[in-house]
Protein backbone atom coordinates (compact mmCIF):
# COMPACT_ATOMS: atom_id res chain seq x y z
CA UNK A 1 0.00 0.00 0.00
CA UNK A 2 1.12 3.58 -0.76
CA UNK A 3 0.71 7.14 0.40
CA UNK A 4 1.57 10.13 -1.78
CA UNK A 5 4.64 11.95 -0.54
CA UNK A 6 7.77 13.86 -1.51
CA UNK A 7 10.89 11.87 -2.33
CA UNK A 8 14.08 13.35 -0.82
CA UNK A 9 17.74 13.20 -1.86
CA UNK A 10 18.63 10.86 1.02
CA UNK A 11 15.98 8.37 -0.09
CA UNK A 12 13.49 9.19 2.66
CA UNK A 13 10.00 10.51 1.89
CA UNK A 14 8.00 13.39 3.39
CA UNK A 15 4.32 14.02 3.94
CA UNK A 16 4.92 17.80 3.70
CA UNK A 17 7.24 19.99 1.64
CA UNK A 18 8.18 22.84 3.94
CA UNK A 19 11.02 25.35 4.13
CA UNK A 20 12.21 25.49 7.72
CA UNK A 21 13.81 28.44 9.50
CA UNK A 22 15.69 27.27 12.61
CA UNK A 23 16.88 29.74 15.26
CA UNK A 24 19.98 28.09 16.72
CA UNK A 25 19.44 30.06 19.92
CA UNK A 26 16.56 31.78 21.72
CA UNK A 27 18.14 35.20 21.01
CA UNK A 28 17.49 34.88 17.26
CA UNK A 29 14.02 33.37 17.59
CA UNK A 30 12.15 36.61 16.80
CA UNK A 31 14.37 37.20 13.78
CA UNK A 32 13.66 33.66 12.53
CA UNK A 33 9.94 34.34 13.01
CA UNK A 34 10.20 37.52 10.91
CA UNK A 35 12.11 35.65 8.19
CA UNK A 36 9.28 33.12 7.79
CA UNK A 37 6.38 35.53 8.42
CA UNK A 38 3.65 35.44 5.80
CA UNK A 39 5.57 33.16 3.44
CA UNK A 40 3.29 30.23 2.60
CA UNK A 41 5.17 26.97 2.96
CA UNK A 42 7.79 28.43 5.31
CA UNK A 43 7.73 27.77 9.05
CA UNK A 44 10.08 28.60 11.93
CA UNK A 45 10.80 26.76 15.17
CA UNK A 46 10.03 28.69 18.35
CA UNK A 47 13.26 27.48 19.95
CA UNK A 48 14.30 29.22 23.17
CA UNK A 49 17.35 27.04 23.94
CA UNK A 50 20.85 26.69 22.42
CA UNK A 51 22.95 28.63 24.91
CA UNK A 52 23.71 28.50 28.63
CA UNK A 53 23.46 24.72 28.51
CA UNK A 54 25.89 21.98 29.40
CA UNK A 55 26.67 18.40 28.48
CA UNK A 56 23.70 16.26 27.69
CA UNK A 57 21.28 19.18 27.40
CA UNK A 58 23.37 20.75 24.65
CA UNK A 59 23.43 17.37 22.88
CA UNK A 60 19.63 17.06 23.16
CA UNK A 61 19.05 20.53 21.68
CA UNK A 62 21.44 19.94 18.79
CA UNK A 63 20.00 16.49 18.04
CA UNK A 64 16.45 17.87 18.08
CA UNK A 65 17.17 20.91 15.86
CA UNK A 66 19.19 18.78 13.42
CA UNK A 67 16.42 16.15 13.42
CA UNK A 68 13.87 18.78 12.41
CA UNK A 69 16.15 20.14 9.68
CA UNK A 70 16.90 16.67 8.31
CA UNK A 71 13.23 15.59 8.49
CA UNK A 72 11.86 14.36 5.15
CA UNK A 73 8.92 16.75 5.67
CA UNK A 74 11.38 19.63 5.12
CA UNK A 75 12.58 20.64 1.64
CA UNK A 76 15.30 23.12 2.64
CA UNK A 77 16.60 24.84 5.78
CA UNK A 78 17.84 28.26 6.83
CA UNK A 79 19.54 28.38 10.24
CA UNK A 80 19.42 31.85 11.82
CA UNK A 81 21.74 32.36 14.76
CA UNK A 82 22.83 35.31 16.84
CA UNK A 83 26.55 34.59 16.50
CA UNK A 84 28.10 34.09 19.94
CA UNK A 85 25.91 31.17 21.13
CA UNK A 86 27.28 27.82 22.27
CA UNK A 87 25.37 25.94 19.60
CA UNK A 88 26.73 27.54 16.43
CA UNK A 89 24.44 27.80 13.37
CA UNK A 90 27.20 26.42 11.12
CA UNK A 91 27.45 23.34 13.37
CA UNK A 92 23.71 22.69 12.94
CA UNK A 93 23.82 23.32 9.17
CA UNK A 94 26.77 20.95 8.78
CA UNK A 95 24.92 18.18 10.63
CA UNK A 96 21.80 18.61 8.43
CA UNK A 97 23.79 18.69 5.17
CA UNK A 98 24.18 14.86 4.79
CA UNK A 99 20.40 14.72 4.13
CA UNK A 100 21.28 16.23 0.72
CA UNK A 101 18.97 19.23 0.98
CA UNK A 102 19.93 22.90 0.66
CA UNK A 103 20.98 24.31 4.05
CA UNK A 104 22.11 27.91 4.66
CA UNK A 105 23.20 29.67 7.85
CA UNK A 106 23.20 33.35 8.87
CA UNK A 107 23.92 35.23 12.08
CA UNK A 108 22.39 38.48 13.23
CA UNK A 109 25.79 39.71 14.43
CA UNK A 110 27.61 39.14 11.12
CA UNK A 111 24.68 40.28 8.96
CA UNK A 112 24.56 43.52 11.01
CA UNK A 113 21.28 43.52 12.83
CA UNK A 114 17.78 42.10 12.77
CA UNK A 115 16.46 44.14 9.82
CA UNK A 116 19.29 43.20 7.47
CA UNK A 117 19.24 39.55 8.61
CA UNK A 118 15.48 39.40 8.08
CA UNK A 119 15.82 40.86 4.55
CA UNK A 120 18.68 38.52 3.55
CA UNK A 121 16.93 35.56 5.17
CA UNK A 122 13.63 36.21 3.39
CA UNK A 123 15.42 36.38 0.06
CA UNK A 124 16.98 32.95 0.68
CA UNK A 125 13.70 31.45 1.91
CA UNK A 126 11.81 32.77 -1.15
CA UNK A 127 14.37 31.09 -3.43
CA UNK A 128 13.95 27.85 -1.49
CA UNK A 129 10.15 28.09 -1.73
CA UNK A 130 10.36 28.55 -5.52
CA UNK A 131 12.46 25.39 -5.75
CA UNK A 132 10.12 23.50 -3.39
CA UNK A 133 7.10 24.40 -5.55
CA UNK A 134 8.55 22.40 -8.46
CA UNK A 135 8.38 19.11 -6.54
CA UNK A 136 5.37 16.81 -6.98
CA UNK A 137 3.96 14.10 -4.75
CA UNK A 138 4.55 10.52 -5.86
CA UNK A 139 3.45 7.11 -4.57
CA UNK A 140 5.56 6.03 -1.61
CA UNK A 141 5.27 2.56 -0.05
CA UNK A 142 3.84 2.53 3.45
CA UNK A 143 7.01 0.76 4.59
CA UNK A 144 8.66 4.22 4.50
CA UNK A 145 6.16 5.82 6.87
CA UNK A 146 6.89 6.45 10.54
CA UNK A 147 3.67 7.03 12.48
CA UNK A 148 4.02 8.69 15.87
CA UNK A 149 1.37 7.87 18.50
CA UNK A 150 0.46 10.14 21.37
CA UNK A 151 -2.33 10.76 23.86
CA UNK A 152 -3.11 13.85 25.89
CA UNK A 153 -6.02 15.24 27.87
CA UNK A 154 -7.24 11.66 28.40
CA UNK A 155 -10.58 10.75 29.96
CA UNK A 156 -12.58 7.53 30.44
CA UNK A 157 -13.23 7.33 26.68
CA UNK A 158 -9.49 7.19 25.79
CA UNK A 159 -8.72 3.67 27.05
CA UNK A 160 -12.01 2.26 25.72
CA UNK A 161 -12.33 3.86 22.28
CA UNK A 162 -9.76 6.26 20.77
CA UNK A 163 -6.62 4.39 21.94
CA UNK A 164 -7.91 0.95 20.85
CA UNK A 165 -9.00 2.43 17.47
CA UNK A 166 -5.55 3.96 16.90
CA UNK A 167 -4.07 0.63 18.07
CA UNK A 168 -5.85 -1.12 15.20
CA UNK A 169 -4.47 1.48 12.73
CA UNK A 170 -0.96 1.06 14.24
CA UNK A 171 -1.14 -2.70 13.71
CA UNK A 172 -2.13 -2.12 10.05
CA UNK A 173 0.85 0.23 9.53
CA UNK A 174 3.21 -2.41 11.01
CA UNK A 175 1.59 -5.19 8.94
CA UNK A 176 2.24 -3.05 5.83
CA UNK A 177 5.93 -2.91 6.73
CA UNK A 178 5.86 0.59 8.21
CA UNK A 179 7.05 1.94 11.55
CA UNK A 180 5.01 3.00 14.58
CA UNK A 181 6.51 4.94 17.44
CA UNK A 182 5.35 4.62 21.06
CA UNK A 183 6.78 6.94 23.74
CA UNK A 184 5.90 8.79 27.03
CA UNK A 185 7.82 6.62 29.49
CA UNK A 186 6.15 7.92 32.71
CA UNK A 187 2.85 6.64 31.28
CA UNK A 188 4.04 3.03 30.88
CA UNK A 189 4.94 2.65 34.55
CA UNK A 190 2.88 -0.22 35.95
CA UNK A 191 2.83 -2.05 32.61
CA UNK A 192 6.54 -1.91 31.79
CA UNK A 193 6.91 -5.63 32.67
CA UNK A 194 4.19 -6.45 30.11
CA UNK A 195 5.81 -4.30 27.42
CA UNK A 196 9.21 -5.84 28.18
CA UNK A 197 7.71 -9.28 27.48
CA UNK A 198 6.79 -8.00 24.02
CA UNK A 199 10.36 -6.90 23.29
CA UNK A 200 12.21 -8.45 20.33
CA UNK A 201 15.13 -9.49 22.54
CA UNK A 202 15.85 -9.70 26.25
CA UNK A 203 18.24 -6.77 25.89
CA UNK A 204 15.49 -4.56 24.40
CA UNK A 205 13.21 -5.59 27.26
CA UNK A 206 15.91 -4.65 29.77
CA UNK A 207 16.30 -1.23 28.15
CA UNK A 208 12.54 -0.64 28.52
CA UNK A 209 12.62 -1.54 32.22
CA UNK A 210 15.64 0.71 32.74
CA UNK A 211 13.90 3.62 31.01
CA UNK A 212 10.84 3.18 33.25
CA UNK A 213 13.06 2.95 36.36
CA UNK A 214 14.92 6.16 35.42
CA UNK A 215 11.67 8.15 35.23
CA UNK A 216 10.31 6.57 38.38
CA UNK A 217 13.46 7.53 40.29
CA UNK A 218 13.33 11.03 38.84
CA UNK A 219 9.72 11.40 40.03
CA UNK A 220 10.64 10.06 43.48
CA UNK A 221 13.58 12.52 43.69
CA UNK A 222 11.09 15.34 43.24
CA UNK A 223 8.79 13.88 45.89
CA UNK A 224 6.28 12.04 43.69
CA UNK A 225 5.62 8.32 43.69
CA UNK A 226 3.84 7.40 40.46
CA UNK A 227 2.64 4.06 41.90
CA UNK A 228 1.26 5.51 45.11
CA UNK A 229 -2.45 6.19 44.93
CA UNK A 230 -2.54 5.13 41.29
CA UNK A 231 -5.05 4.21 39.94
CA UNK A 232 -6.66 7.10 41.79
CA UNK A 233 -9.89 6.73 43.82
CA UNK A 234 -11.64 8.44 40.89
CA UNK A 235 -10.18 5.89 38.45
CA UNK A 236 -11.33 3.04 40.71
CA UNK A 237 -14.85 4.48 41.04
CA UNK A 238 -14.90 4.69 37.24
CA UNK A 239 -14.06 0.98 36.91
CA UNK A 240 -10.26 0.90 36.54
CA UNK A 241 -8.85 -1.72 38.93
CA UNK A 242 -5.06 -1.95 38.49
CA UNK A 243 -2.15 0.24 37.39
CA UNK A 244 -1.45 -2.24 34.57
CA UNK A 245 -4.95 -1.65 33.28
CA UNK A 246 -4.60 2.14 33.45
CA UNK A 247 -1.20 2.15 31.71
CA UNK A 248 -2.30 -0.37 29.07
CA UNK A 249 -5.21 1.91 28.20
CA UNK A 250 -2.61 4.46 27.13
CA UNK A 251 -0.07 2.08 25.55
CA UNK A 252 -2.70 0.27 23.47
CA UNK A 253 -2.72 3.13 20.91
CA UNK A 254 0.49 1.67 19.45
CA UNK A 255 -1.16 -1.69 18.86
CA UNK A 256 0.05 -5.13 19.81
CA UNK A 257 3.24 -5.66 17.76
CA UNK A 258 6.56 -6.76 19.27
CA UNK A 259 8.85 -3.89 20.35
CA UNK A 260 11.82 -3.83 18.01
CA UNK A 261 14.09 -1.37 19.79
CA UNK A 262 14.32 1.35 22.43
CA UNK A 263 15.74 4.66 21.20
CA UNK A 264 16.72 7.81 23.05
CA UNK A 265 14.99 11.20 22.86
CA UNK A 266 14.86 12.60 19.28
CA UNK A 267 16.88 9.71 17.80
CA UNK A 268 16.02 8.04 14.49
CA UNK A 269 14.69 4.47 14.56
CA UNK A 270 17.05 1.92 13.02
CA UNK A 271 14.37 -0.75 12.64
CA UNK A 272 10.88 -0.95 11.21
CA UNK A 273 7.83 -2.18 13.10
CA UNK A 274 6.92 -0.90 16.57
CA UNK A 275 9.74 1.13 18.13
CA UNK A 276 9.88 2.72 21.55
CA UNK A 277 11.30 6.21 22.15
CA UNK A 278 12.15 7.20 25.73
CA UNK A 279 10.51 10.62 26.22
CA UNK A 280 8.70 12.54 28.95
CA UNK A 281 4.90 12.51 29.01
CA UNK A 282 4.81 16.29 28.45
CA UNK A 283 2.75 16.51 25.26
CA UNK A 284 4.86 19.04 23.35
CA UNK A 285 8.25 17.67 24.45
CA UNK A 286 7.12 14.19 23.38
CA UNK A 287 5.70 15.40 20.05
CA UNK A 288 8.90 17.36 19.36
CA UNK A 289 11.06 14.29 20.07
CA UNK A 290 9.07 11.96 17.80
CA UNK A 291 9.11 14.45 14.90
CA UNK A 292 12.86 15.09 15.40
CA UNK A 293 13.29 11.29 15.16
CA UNK A 294 11.84 11.31 11.64
CA UNK A 295 8.14 10.73 12.34
CA UNK A 296 6.32 12.16 9.31
CA UNK A 297 2.80 12.01 10.80
CA UNK A 298 1.24 11.68 14.25
CA UNK A 299 -2.02 10.13 15.50
CA UNK A 300 -2.99 11.95 18.70
CA UNK A 301 -5.85 10.68 20.88
CA UNK A 302 -7.65 12.84 23.39
CA UNK A 303 -10.71 12.68 25.61
CA UNK A 304 -10.99 16.21 26.95
CA UNK A 305 -9.54 17.79 23.80
CA UNK A 306 -6.26 19.42 22.87
CA UNK A 307 -5.34 22.00 20.23
CA UNK A 308 -1.60 21.26 19.89
CA UNK A 309 0.26 20.65 16.63
CA UNK A 310 3.77 20.29 15.22
CA UNK A 311 5.66 22.87 13.11
CA UNK A 312 6.43 20.32 10.38
CA UNK A 313 4.24 17.22 10.79
CA UNK A 314 0.50 16.71 10.45
CA UNK A 315 -1.01 15.77 13.83
CA UNK A 316 -4.39 14.02 13.59
CA UNK A 317 -6.67 14.51 16.62
CA UNK A 318 -8.90 11.57 17.41
CA UNK A 319 -11.48 11.56 20.18
CA UNK A 320 -14.00 9.03 21.51
CA UNK A 321 -15.83 11.75 23.43
CA UNK A 322 -18.72 13.10 21.35
CA UNK A 323 -19.10 16.28 23.46
CA UNK A 324 -15.41 17.10 22.96
CA UNK A 325 -15.72 16.52 19.22
CA UNK A 326 -18.72 18.88 18.99
CA UNK A 327 -17.32 21.54 21.34
CA UNK A 328 -13.85 21.53 19.76
CA UNK A 329 -14.76 20.87 16.15
CA UNK A 330 -12.06 23.31 14.99
CA UNK A 331 -9.40 21.15 16.74
CA UNK A 332 -10.71 17.60 16.31
CA UNK A 333 -10.13 15.63 13.10
CA UNK A 334 -11.86 12.35 13.80
CA UNK A 335 -14.80 11.25 15.96
CA UNK A 336 -14.75 7.61 17.12
CA UNK A 337 -17.43 8.06 19.81
CA UNK A 338 -19.75 5.59 18.08
CA UNK A 339 -17.63 2.82 19.65
CA UNK A 340 -19.02 3.73 23.06
CA UNK A 341 -22.55 4.04 21.70
CA UNK A 342 -22.26 0.49 20.37
CA UNK A 343 -22.82 1.46 16.72
CA UNK A 344 -19.24 1.02 15.49
CA UNK A 345 -16.72 -1.70 16.36
CA UNK A 346 -13.11 -0.97 17.34
CA UNK A 347 -11.80 -2.57 14.09
CA UNK A 348 -14.22 -0.46 12.00
CA UNK A 349 -13.14 2.76 13.74
CA UNK A 350 -9.50 1.66 13.44
CA UNK A 351 -9.88 1.30 9.69
CA UNK A 352 -11.24 4.87 9.50
CA UNK A 353 -8.24 6.09 11.54
CA UNK A 354 -5.90 4.29 9.14
CA UNK A 355 -7.63 5.86 6.11
CA UNK A 356 -7.31 9.31 7.70
CA UNK A 357 -3.58 8.69 8.30
CA UNK A 358 -3.10 7.85 4.59
CA UNK A 359 -5.18 10.88 3.52
CA UNK A 360 -3.26 13.31 5.76
CA UNK A 361 0.10 11.75 4.83
CA UNK A 362 -0.90 12.39 1.20
CA UNK A 363 -1.65 16.09 1.74
CA UNK A 364 -5.01 16.47 3.49
CA UNK A 365 -4.73 19.38 5.90
CA UNK A 366 -5.24 18.58 9.60
CA UNK A 367 -7.16 20.91 11.91
CA UNK A 368 -3.93 21.81 13.75
CA UNK A 369 -2.31 22.83 10.45
CA UNK A 370 -5.35 24.88 9.45
CA UNK A 371 -5.05 26.76 12.76
CA UNK A 372 -1.28 27.15 12.26
CA UNK A 373 -0.82 25.35 15.58
CA UNK A 374 2.93 24.76 15.50
CA UNK A 375 4.14 23.88 18.98
CA UNK A 376 7.74 23.08 19.85
CA UNK A 377 9.57 22.38 23.10
CA UNK A 378 12.77 20.45 23.84
CA UNK A 379 13.12 18.35 26.98
CA UNK A 380 16.00 19.33 29.25
CA UNK A 381 17.52 17.63 32.25
CA UNK A 382 19.29 20.48 34.05
CA UNK A 383 18.51 24.15 34.59
CA UNK A 384 20.12 26.59 32.16
CA UNK A 385 23.16 28.38 33.49
Amino acid sequence: MNFHGYRRADGRAGTRNLVLVIPSVGCSQSCARDVARGLKGAVYLPNILGCGQMGEDKTLVKRTLVGFGASPNVFAVLVVGNGCEELQPEEIAKAIAPSGKRVEALTVQETRGTKKTTAVGRKIVKEMLNEAAKLRREPIPLSELILGTECGGSDYTSGLSSNPAVGVASDIVVAEGGTVMLSETPEIIGAEHLLAKRARTQEVGKQLLEAAAWWEQRAIASGQDIRKGNPSPGNIAGGITTLEEKSLGCIYKAGSSPIQEVIAYACKPTRKGLVYMDTPAHDIEQLTAMVAGGTQIVAFTTGRGTPCGSPIAPVIKITGNRTTFVNMRDNMDLDVSRILRGSETIPQAGKRVFEEIIACASGKETKAERLNQRDFSIFKINPNI
Binding site: G190, H193, I236, G239, L243, E244, E245, L248, Y252, I346
Partner: protein, 97 residues
Protein backbone atom coordinates in the same frame (compact mmCIF):
# COMPACT_ATOMS: atom_id res chain seq x y z
CA UNK B 1 -34.12 3.76 17.88
CA UNK B 2 -34.03 0.79 20.17
CA UNK B 3 -31.61 1.23 23.03
CA UNK B 4 -29.15 -1.62 23.48
CA UNK B 5 -27.09 -2.87 26.37
CA UNK B 6 -23.68 -1.59 25.40
CA UNK B 7 -20.66 -3.63 26.35
CA UNK B 8 -17.18 -3.51 24.92
CA UNK B 9 -14.53 -6.20 24.44
CA UNK B 10 -11.25 -4.46 23.54
CA UNK B 11 -9.22 -7.44 22.32
CA UNK B 12 -10.34 -10.91 21.29
CA UNK B 13 -7.99 -12.50 23.88
CA UNK B 14 -9.76 -10.67 26.73
CA UNK B 15 -11.64 -12.60 29.41
CA UNK B 16 -13.37 -9.47 30.73
CA UNK B 17 -15.65 -6.95 29.02
CA UNK B 18 -16.54 -3.38 30.04
CA UNK B 19 -20.16 -2.34 30.60
CA UNK B 20 -21.02 0.93 28.86
CA UNK B 21 -24.28 1.14 30.83
CA UNK B 22 -25.21 -0.02 34.30
CA UNK B 23 -26.14 -3.72 34.19
CA UNK B 24 -28.37 -4.96 37.05
CA UNK B 25 -27.94 -8.58 38.19
CA UNK B 26 -29.97 -10.88 35.98
CA UNK B 27 -29.47 -8.77 32.83
CA UNK B 28 -28.44 -10.77 29.79
CA UNK B 29 -26.06 -9.25 27.27
CA UNK B 30 -24.98 -10.48 23.86
CA UNK B 31 -21.26 -10.73 23.30
CA UNK B 32 -20.16 -10.80 19.71
CA UNK B 33 -16.68 -12.08 19.01
CA UNK B 34 -15.06 -12.72 15.65
CA UNK B 35 -16.18 -16.32 15.70
CA UNK B 36 -19.35 -16.46 17.76
CA UNK B 37 -22.25 -14.71 19.38
CA UNK B 38 -23.07 -15.69 22.94
CA UNK B 39 -25.34 -14.54 25.71
CA UNK B 40 -24.03 -13.87 29.20
CA UNK B 41 -26.18 -13.30 32.28
CA UNK B 42 -24.88 -10.86 34.89
CA UNK B 43 -24.74 -12.59 38.25
CA UNK B 44 -23.99 -9.37 40.13
CA UNK B 45 -24.63 -5.68 39.62
CA UNK B 46 -22.16 -4.09 37.14
CA UNK B 47 -21.80 -0.31 37.44
CA UNK B 48 -21.25 1.72 34.25
CA UNK B 49 -17.62 1.56 33.07
CA UNK B 50 -16.88 -1.54 35.19
CA UNK B 51 -15.76 -4.99 34.07
CA UNK B 52 -17.42 -8.41 34.17
CA UNK B 53 -16.05 -11.88 33.42
CA UNK B 54 -16.69 -13.27 29.95
CA UNK B 55 -15.47 -16.69 31.05
CA UNK B 56 -14.90 -18.54 34.29
CA UNK B 57 -11.59 -17.42 35.82
CA UNK B 58 -9.84 -19.68 38.34
CA UNK B 59 -8.49 -18.32 41.60
CA UNK B 60 -5.00 -16.99 40.79
CA UNK B 61 -5.83 -16.87 37.07
CA UNK B 62 -4.83 -14.05 34.75
CA UNK B 63 -7.41 -11.35 34.11
CA UNK B 64 -6.94 -10.24 30.52
CA UNK B 65 -7.90 -6.88 29.00
CA UNK B 66 -6.21 -5.15 26.04
CA UNK B 67 -4.96 -8.66 25.23
CA UNK B 68 -2.60 -8.42 28.23
CA UNK B 69 -2.66 -9.50 31.87
CA UNK B 70 -4.00 -6.61 33.96
CA UNK B 71 -3.69 -8.60 37.20
CA UNK B 72 -4.44 -11.86 38.99
CA UNK B 73 -7.79 -12.97 40.38
CA UNK B 74 -7.83 -13.31 44.17
CA UNK B 75 -10.78 -15.72 44.12
CA UNK B 76 -12.68 -17.87 41.67
CA UNK B 77 -14.65 -15.59 39.33
CA UNK B 78 -17.70 -17.08 37.61
CA UNK B 79 -18.86 -15.90 34.21
CA UNK B 80 -21.00 -12.76 34.47
CA UNK B 81 -19.42 -11.68 37.78
CA UNK B 82 -18.25 -8.12 38.50
CA UNK B 83 -14.42 -7.97 38.27
CA UNK B 84 -12.85 -5.20 40.33
CA UNK B 85 -10.74 -4.47 43.44
CA UNK B 86 -12.57 -7.17 45.48
CA UNK B 87 -11.39 -10.04 43.25
CA UNK B 88 -8.54 -8.67 41.11
CA UNK B 89 -5.04 -7.63 42.26
CA UNK B 90 -2.18 -5.92 40.46
CA UNK B 91 0.99 -7.88 39.68
CA UNK B 92 2.94 -4.74 38.98
CA UNK B 93 5.89 -4.25 41.35
CA UNK B 94 4.78 -2.74 44.62
CA UNK B 95 5.15 0.80 45.86
CA UNK B 96 8.78 1.75 45.91
CA UNK B 97 10.29 2.47 49.28
Amino acid sequence: MRSRRGIIVINEKDNVATALDELPAGTTVSVKTEHSMEKIEMISHIPRGHKFALRHIDRGGAVIKYGETIGQSTEEIPRGQHVHVHNLASQSKGETT
